[in-house]
Amino acid sequence: MSSMKKALLWSVLMAVALVAPALAHHSPAAFDRTKKVTLVGTVKEFRWQNPHTWIELEVPDEKGKQVVWGVELTSPTYLVRAGWKSNIIKPGDKVTIVVNPVRSGEPSGIFVSLTLADGRELLERPARLGTTESK
């Protein structure tokens, strides 16, 4: 896929993600959807569970101190449809995660994308079920 096509696909996916509410139990208003933070770090824990999957990621700050970021994802039901598995990452894995951060500046954010050590990129699938075409 050309870089232009990839960029276009990415922008479309992001537009869908922005208009579709996350499958969250809490209000998403805590997150600044206009900002993205790229976290390069080491997986501390990955919990595959309802209502949210979550990742704790150890990320060095500018002084080299390890800060644990909390990353919130949607339900495994939708992650599976986007190619995820419960063992796709494990503690110790080096990954890059992009998040929309909480507005308070604390080390917490809602998931945008994951890049594995082998370069594979994973997204969420927006929770958009049911159509009028269903019988």
């Binding site: 579709a20 996350a22 309802n50 909390g70 079920l129 159509t131």
Partner: protein, 284 residues
């Protein structure tokens, strides 16, 4: 087809016709009438026969005009925000509700989240449980409709067996309330009262409007769009929080490729969903 096969088929059809018309030889055995147990007789006398008691299920009733049994999901195809009840115009709020509404707008402008009780694991409650961004299973029996939300597995039961609302001095207040349904023509009309009035809101992620103990919701269920969609027209009153009737109509699509799974707000959930305990949250 050979002529002998045609003859045999004609003879078989004629025999079936004769047997079907013969009163002493029914084409299919009639189901035996159910004899209530002593426990069911006593429960019926006490007005406590449960919706799933065989004696209740076996009672003769008119056939309902439709069956809602399916998994459903709010239709957001025309508007991603259609799951909200906070779609304008809002009703005219009472001073008590206006205070909460104004506080939520103030904190929203500061980038904060005001009293997100659902995020702290309080139940969503009616009406919001119907349009949460999770599918809802509905299972219809002659005496009741059982609903299980994919959101925290919240259970809602609509009784269809002719019972009345519980006496006010015994009703158990809940976030989904007590729902009694009645078939009227091609619609199911559901009357719900008995709500808890604490940590109960009319919506989430928007201006805060409380749902109180006087909340009364009448829903009109109907099948639309060639039976592909379920439509529910909500008429909601709560004199402690707004004036007159607050109306909203929602449509739901069938979900044929996803199940309702076990979802709980466990004690350790928010320890790891850090936004729920961040400084963005305003609890008072």
């Amino acid at each position: 087809m050979t002529s002998s096969m045609t003859m045999r088929a004609a003879a078989a059809a004629a025999l079936s016709f004769v047997l079907a018309g013969c009163s002493t030889t029914p084409s299919k055995p009639a189901s035996p009438a159910y004899t209530p147990t002593q426990a069911e007789v006593e429960a019926e006398k006490a007005g406590m026969l449960s919706a799933l008691a065989p004696a209740n299920l076996a009672k003769e009733r008119p056939a309902p005009p439709f069956d809602v049994t399916s998994n459903w999901f709010i239709d957001v195809s025309q508007n991603p925000q259609a799951w909200h009840f906070y779609l304008e115009p809002y009703p005219k709020l009472t001073p008590a509700a206006q205070k909460e509404f104004d506080a939520s707008k103030k904190y929203e402008a500061e980038g904060k989240v005001y009293k997100d009780d659902i995020g702290q694991c309080w139940p969503a409650g009616l009406p919001l449980i119907m349009t949460r961004y999770w599918p809802m299973a509905m299972i219809q029996k002659p005496t009741a409709i059982y609903m299980i939300s994919g959101f925290m597995n919240s259970v809602r039961i609509i009784y269809l067996d002719g019972r009345k609302h519980s006496d006010p001095d015994v009703i158990i207040r809940t976030y989904n309330g007590e729902s009694i349904g009645e078939w009227q023509g091609n619609e199911l009309v559901v009357d719900t009262i008995g709500f808890r009035g604490d940590h109960h809101w009319m919506d989430q992620d928007g201006p805060a409007i409380p749902a109180g103990e006087k909340l009364h919701i009448v829903e009109r269920f109907r099948m639309v769009n060639d039976n592909k969609q379920l439509e529910i027209e909500f008429t909601m009153t709560d004199p402690d929080h707004w004036e007159g009737e607050w109306k909203s109509t929602k449509r739901f699509n069938r979900v044929v490729d996803a199940e309702i799974s076990e979802v709980s707000c466990l004690p350790d959930l928010n320890q790891h969903i850090k936004s729920t305990t961040s400084k963005t949250q305003v609890f008072q």
